[in-house]
Symmetry: C2
Subunit: 218 residues, 2 copies
């Protein structure tokens, strides 16, 4: 089992902890679009990503979304175990954005390890702080950056993630990532098209001048 290779602090676990974690962790495969965690209803456990991509987002009461961050291969998803984390007073939705091959470390085991092992608790500290940093970055973007800069940054990030200049993304989907309305996205994309930075066709956005988009974000 190559679990040890993926679990970041494997060497800091005792042999008995290593045996327990191998004993109770189990694989999970999820198709793109699967919701793995939805607010406080679920408590699956820590998710260790072997391959794939998770999206973590919040929902407003009216059903509007904003993407908080994404997780990739070798990342650990924490908030799918939020039931055993004290003081988590917010709810997130976690979905498989691409096909995911995961390991699940059950919440109760994770809680035991945090209580008994300083290295595990410290490592979890560093994970929470990473996610906190991503949310702070996002909040600062929302507070201080105009929407054109944010959208330019989003398109470049997507292009990098997909390894392509042609993005198959509806305006609705972009609006859900960015926590805004579809009309706002459409208006800005048309402006970008007018400036020669993108070409819009039905269901796709082609980035034609990445340098111009990049300089817009700066």
């Amino acid at each position: 089992m190559d679990f040890a290779k993926y679990f970041p602090i494997w060497d800091k676990l005792t042999p008995s902890q290593q045996a327990r974690i191998l004993d109770v962790s189990h694989p999970l495969k999820a198709k793109a679009g699967t919701v793995l965690h939805n607010g406080s209803m679920d408590c699956l456990g820590l998710l260790l990503i072997r391959s794939g991509q998770l999206r973590v987002y919040t929902l407003s009461q009216e059903g509007r979304e904003v993407t908080l961050y994404r997780l990739f291969e070798m990342d650990i998803c924490l908030f799918s175990a939020s039931c055993v984390m004290p003081n988590v007073q917010f709810e997130v939705v976690i979905e498989a954005e691409k096909y995911c091959d995961l390991w699940v470390i059950p919440s109760c085991l994770f809680k035991n390890f945090m209580d008994e092992s300083a290295p595990v608790a410290s490592y979890i500290n560093s994970l929470i702080t990473s996610r906190f940093s991503e949310v702070m970055w996002l909040m600062e973007q929302i507070m201080w950056k105009s929407f054109d800069k944010r959208l330019a940054g989003f398109l470049l990030e997507e292009s990098q993630l997909e390894g392509s200049d042609t993005l198959k993304l509806t305006h609705e989907k972009i609006a859900n990532h960015m926590g805004t309305a579809r009309e706002v996205v459409t208006r800005m994309l048309r402006y970008f098209q007018g400036e020669g930075m993108v070409t819009l066709t039905r269901g796709t956005i082609q980035i034609t001048d990445p340098k111009a988009l990049q300089s817009l974000t700066e």
Copy 2:
């Protein structure tokens, strides 16, 4: 020394840890307005609040502020020790908003304790998660709530903190708390005045209809 009474997990420290913490922690008094931590320049340590009030905020590149959260008696301020916390990729400013009587637990000691003690590391986890929750709450307010609702909530919170219906607050100061421009605050306060919810005089805001403000926030 009544340090033990204020330090939340005193009973979970070993006698040797208790002795070390008493040995190196020191008192600090700060006048209202004192900046105790400014981004990555400082690394004072954990601050344990005996009395007073701290404000933690971020600054945009243009110098605009937004208050992330406040800390009160018996709270512990974490990010004044951010230098020893892995993965903190954001900067905050921490100021004494009222006269503060504090204990400082130096960063190096705090780091040692986190590395050797699962209860300390777990407790720090719960603190980070609390602050994370406050920032998530704030982000959701900024994303989904209109400014009138946010301002009504802010005025009621201030009134509760000060134990008074008369707030000595300039429009500029409110703008700094809420991450907006002074003109936006002035316009909304004048609207509130027109609706009979507040009375404005130079440098003060008197809340005349708290129920109406409350129902606005809901």
